[in-house]
């Protein structure tokens, strides 16, 4: 895959690029701040070589707040087909909501930076987002669920269904959920159907169901 990596910390950027290259990906451009990220993207877009995925830090210069995030929203508005994976030292549902609000339907990821350390999982997330999936950090999902404690609809879910729900929100497939919870895929499918019925959400294919769940939790 052809990737664009943006992070203001040169150490982390080099580490990330090295890791991705050793995993067989090609890093076609790097950026050290938000304006550079946007500029590199539009330069690539101009020659019709938009990367397969942008990986960017939320907190970057110039203002060292959420410049990276705002650049990502801008990119998703400009190039709706461009998948974006945001990394951050600190995650909050508010930022995830901002990303999900953009009208683009391309893949989207929002992960704590240290998840990169679980290299195999991280590489899987990279593939998933590039393929149009949505991956949101378990931390965000946990905070969303926590904020909605006492919600009459959520309290109808069994503890097991809640577990499945948060794994699902993280972008795990039925097979991965079955793996983690040590149950059969058929059992997972049943849980998922129950969750969607209880939350009053229509039937959903794999890639869309994360959006549905997050949209529900963010409501």
């Amino acid at each position: 895959m052809r990737l664009l990596v943006a992070d203001d910390a040169a150490l982390i950027r080099a580490g990330l690029v090295g890791l991705l290259e050793r995993a067989g990906h090609e890093v076609v451009a790097e950026a050290a701040d938000a304006p550079e990220l946007v500029a590199r993207c539009s330069r690539l877009a101009a020659t019709g070589e938009l990367p397969d995925l942008v990986i960017a830090d939320v907190r970057m210069p110039p203002s060292m707040t959420d410049d990276g995030l705002r650049a990502a929203v801008q990119l998703r508005d400009a190039y709706p087909e461009l998948p974006v994976l945001m990394l951050s030292q600190y995650v909050a549902p508010a930022y995830a909501a901002t990303l999900l609000e953009a009208r683009a339907s391309a893949g989207l990821g929002y992960l704590l930076k240290e998840r990169v350390g679980r290299v195999a999982d991280f590489l899987r997330s990279v593939e998933l987002v590039a393929a149009g999936g949505v991956v949101v950090d378990p931390e965000v999902v946990g905070q969303l669920l926590n904020a909605r404690r006492g919600d009459p609809v959520l309290s109808r879910l069994t503890p097991r269904e809640l577990e499945v729900l948060s794994l699902m929100a993280n972008g795990a497939s039925n097979a991965q959920i079955a793996d983690q919870l040590v149950v059969t895929q058929a059992a997972v499918a049943k849980h998922v159907a129950n969750i969607f019925a209880k939350l009053d959400l229509g039937p959903n294919e794999d890639n869309r169901r994360v959006r549905a769940v997050l949209a529900y939790l963010n409501r």
């Binding site: 910390a9 150490l11 982390i12 580490g15 990330l16 890791l19 050793r22 995993a23 907190r59 060292m64 030292q89 930076k113 240290e114 990169v116 350390g117 679980r118 290299v119 195999a120 991280f122």
Partner: protein, 397 residues
């Protein structure tokens, strides 16, 4: 609790002083200011009396308003306006607080002086106007005689006497009003200053927290994230049977953890230097000096150990001075002088290019606030071209 500084008193007296030469009194501003002041005193005194008679039920409001007018009327004499205490603002017309803070006494003074000023004022006004009328008639008649000189002389003498009388009455009233109202006014100014300095201190704390957050984010956290990535890579490499790759990744991870520890140590030293707690200010300042790339002379005199709060402030002042030297001064040598007495005196000198400033929101300005909060004083002399001398004193009891 309020003390009138001798300087303020001297300033006050010098502004009220009248010239000794009677002819200069005719052209000096204070004489004519005094006439205007006395005239407004008469009007104000009569109004204050009438207001009190007609508005006897709202007497607190009358005395409060009178005192406020008197605070402002000092401007007529070229004196600064006095600020009222915030709490003297009356809530309703019969609020008894309208009497407090010298207001009632000032009302009495206003009425008294208004009536007293009216007697010589009227007499002198009649005399001067009469003389002026006579003089004008004689001048109009074009009959040059000794009378014109006499009347002119009498008019000049009457004017000078009038100016001196007006000056004496005005100065007396202003001094009594000042004695009554200034203590409350100075209290009010101190309250304002304290409010500002407390807000500044809160800003200092907020800035300090942001600095620590930045230090942790840019330092230890980055290295730890990198460590996690490198460990992940080692595991990934092992999974593929790539032992060399795994070893390289593990070595890199070890380096990152060491970097994280170093960075954490720096951050912690920035929050509270361990040496300062264990060995005291002098040792901590010497250690700080030793870590500069510039040669630093540390000169210590006296042996009165400062308290923990003063020590910390001095340490940070020295630290900030060094930071600024390293960044901007282009100095070849630096000297820290520390006089451990009461007051404690700190001087940091460098022979660099100068031009240092205390800019709001920057490191030094927070430390200046801190110094003031501890009852100390701060001076910075840094002309363009240098040298730079930073001086701070702290009460050290």
């Amino acid at each position: 609790m309020t003390t009138q500084s001798p300087l303020a008193d001297a300033e006050f007296r010098s502004r009220l002083a009248a010239p000794h030469n009677p002819l200069r009194m005719l052209i000096s501003p204070i004489g004519w200011r005094a006439v205007l002041y006395c005239f407004t005193s008469i009007v104000g005194g009569v109004l204050a009396l009438l207001a009190a008679i007609l508005g006897v039920l709202v007497l607190p409001l009358v005395t409060w308003a009178t005192a406020n007018a008197e605070r402002g009327r000092l401007v007529v004499l070229g004196l600064p306006r006095l600020t009222p205490l915030p709490r003297t603002r009356v809530r309703h017309p019969w609020d008894p607080r309208g009497f407090s803070d010298g207001n009632l006494a000032v009302w009495g003074i206003t009425v008294l002086f208004g009536l007293v000023d009216a007697i010589p004022g009227a007499a002198l006004a009649i005399l001067i106007l009469g003389l002026a009328y006579t003089l004008a008639r004689q001048l109009n008649a074009f009959r040059w005689s000794i009378d014109i000189v006499l009347v002119g002389g009498e008019l000049a003498v009457a004017l000078v006497i009038g100016l001196y009388v007006a000056w004496a009455l005005a100065a007396a009233q202003a001094i009594i009003v000042d004695i009554q109202l200034r203590p409350h006014s100075e209290l009010s100014q101190q309250v304002d200053e304290l409010t500002v300095s407390r807000r500044n201190l809160v800003d200092v704390f907020a800035a300090e927290r942001r600095r620590i957050e930045h230090d942790l984010h840019d330092g230890a956290q980055q290295h730890l994230v990198l460590t996690s990535m490198q460990l992940g890579e080692a595991e990934y490499a092992l999974g593929r049977g790539d032992l060399d790759g795994a070893r390289r990744a593990l070595q890199a991870a070890q380096g990152s953890v060491e970097a994280a520890t170093t960075s954490l140590r720096d951050t912690i030293r920035g929050i509270h230097p361990q040496l300062l707690t264990d060995r005291g200010l002098v040792a901590a300042v010497r250690e700080l000096a030793g870590r500069q790339s510039l040669p630093v002379h540390v000169e210590v005199s006296g042996g009165q150990t400062p308290g923990e709060d003063v020590s910390l402030a001095v340490y940070y002042l020295v630290s900030e001075a060094f930071t600024n030297q390293a960044r901007h001064a282009r100095a070849t040598t630096s000297t820290v002088r520390l006089q451990l007495a009461d007051p404690l005196v700190l001087e940091v000198y460098d022979d660099g290019v100068g031009g240092a400033q205390v800019r709001p929101g920057h490191g030094l300005s927070g430390l200046v606030e801190w110094t003031r909060a501890l009852g100390g004083g701060f001076w910075l002399s840094s002309p363009p071209g240098g040298p730079t001398l930073l001086r701070a004193i702290f009460p050290n009891r």
